[in-house]
């Protein structure tokens, strides 16, 4: 299972960098920025990543999750438009570090739908208020 973190600015690449600092090298997990790109260029770039064009570890269209930072943005639009009907691809918004750590941990154990469900739960669980109210 491959993963692409497609976000505004450098958030995606930084999240991937932090994941590898914690978990070690994460093959098939990449960051992508929308910076300076039109909707059509971004769509083409994501479609190319899905086909594994520039990734020697990819063998054609593998199952993949595209993580985006927020829906209703250029990354969300491009991620959806880059998928064709029947592609084994899920687009998940609201990416955070906990979600990506879960992805690297569980991606070989679960199928795409189960993994997506688990990651959404993991990402949501990480959003919480900590400590006593002072």
């Amino acid at each position: 299972m491959r993963g692409l973190v497609a976000t505004h600015g450098g958030i995606g690449a930084e999240l991937v960098e932090v994941v590898t600092m914690i978990m070690g090298p994460a093959e098939g997990l990449a960051g992508l920025s929308n910076h300076g790109k039109s909707a059509s260029d971004l769509t083409v770039e994501i479609a190319s990543w899905l086909r594994g064009d520039a990734d020697p570890s990819a063998s054609g269209m593998e199952p993949a999750i595209i993580f985006i930072d927020d829906y209703g943005g250029s990354c969300a639009n491009a991620a959806q438009l880059a998928c064709r009907p029947g592609d084994p691809v899920a687009v998940v918004s609201g990416v955070n570090l906990a979600m990506l750590l879960g992805f690297v941990t569980w991606r070989e154990e679960l199928d795409l739908d189960e993994l997506v469900q688990r990651l959404i739960e993991r990402g949501r669980t990480a959003i919480t208020r900590l400590g006593p109210v002072s």
Partner: protein, 165 residues
């Protein structure tokens, strides 16, 4: 129908529009004029899903958009009009859409385009479209988001880009 913003943005419906400009201008309708997307139900659905709640969205061909914008029966709705390119905006104006001012919001780098501003790159077709709009009395400004710096574009700036108008 009042066009509160006519914007050229090759990212079409995205955060700078739906969060930035829509929160500032509170349009009743977001109108995307694009022949290819209007003809494709899947693309239309993806773009329509990015629009904030309480804002209507129409994704129409250039000709349909002009007809809607000129229709006297359509009340006093506030419309935020979007195209993905300068020639499309110029076509809308040429066909009679009531637009006095055009915002260049984002035209990103691609082969054959030269930098005017970090978020605006133009090729010869873009410069020709700008000249045509200026000749029609339309004023042009570049600005990414509300509160961001506004750059007014006239014949001099366009000459500097290699245009003759």
């Amino acid at each position: 129908m009042t066009v509160v913003l006519a914007r050229v943005d090759d990212r079409l419906i995205h955060g700078q529009v739906t969060v930035g400009w829509c929160q500032q201008l509170r349009p009743d309708r977001l109108l995307l004029a694009n022949n290819a997307i209007a003809a494709d139900p899947w693309q239309s659905r993806v773009y329509a899903s990015s629009v904030p709640p309480r804002t209507e969205v129409s994704i129409l061909s250039i000709a349909e958009a002009v007809a809607l914008l000129k229709d006297p029966e359509v009340g006093r709705e506030k419309v935020l009009l979007l195209t993905g390119s300068l020639p499309e905006m110029s076509d809308l104006i040429h066909l009679g859409a009531p637009i006095a001012r055009v915002n260049l919001g984002g035209i990103h780098v691609s082969p054959g385009k030269r930098e005017l501003l970090p978020f605006i790159y133009l090729d010869d077709l873009d410069v020709r479209a700008l000249c045509r709009m200026l000749a029609a009395g339309v004023s042009i400004f570049a600005q990414q988001v509300p509160g961001g710096r506004e750059f007014s574009l006239g014949p001099r700036e366009i000459r500097d880009m290699g245009g003759a108008c």
